[in-house]
Symmetry: C2
């Protein structure tokens, strides 16, 4: 990917500022940052003793798990569509 | 969900131990933890000055962004299938 397409967006998550560099629009980055911030708050409310690093690690674990789950569903759907297509043509 | 279905799995991420409570299998939790640990290492190699909290927050941002992207693709596919179904029946 060319550097020209990269955006730099500064967001605040759990009272610290982060500059995120990537292909996503600043609007998208703000939305993602707000989701992470919100999830950290939720985990903190349930576990007030955790420090920022622990909250962030658990947030990353949650998000990665959500990602894998939806990716599996997506792949299953693609496989199902392929099989249906083969049945139609075979 | 009943508590009886919950598992407790202890994982190590970035040299700290976390006990993850949830519906997922211990095998799945270990896989997710290993993905988070790996992603934190990658971000650290690219940004050696970041502390653990910053690495974990950026890992959470990455994972959340990946989740949203695949969820959008999944939703688009579902919408496309629905439209095709309607076209067939209409």
């Amino acid at each position: 990917m060319s550097d020209a397409k990269k955006t730099r967006t500064t967001v605040e998550i759990h009272n610290r500022k982060y500059t995120i560099v990537g292909e996503e629009s600043p609007h998208r980055i703000q939305m993602v940052a707000s989701m992470v911030d919100q999830k950290m708050k939720e985990i903190q409310e349930a576990n007030p003793k955790l420090d920022t690093a622990q909250l962030a690690v658990l947030t990353a674990v949650n998000a990665t798990n959500d990602y894998i789950k939806i990716k599996e569903e997506y792949n299953h759907l693609i496989e199902k569509l392929k099989r249906e297509e083969q049945d139609k043509n075979g």
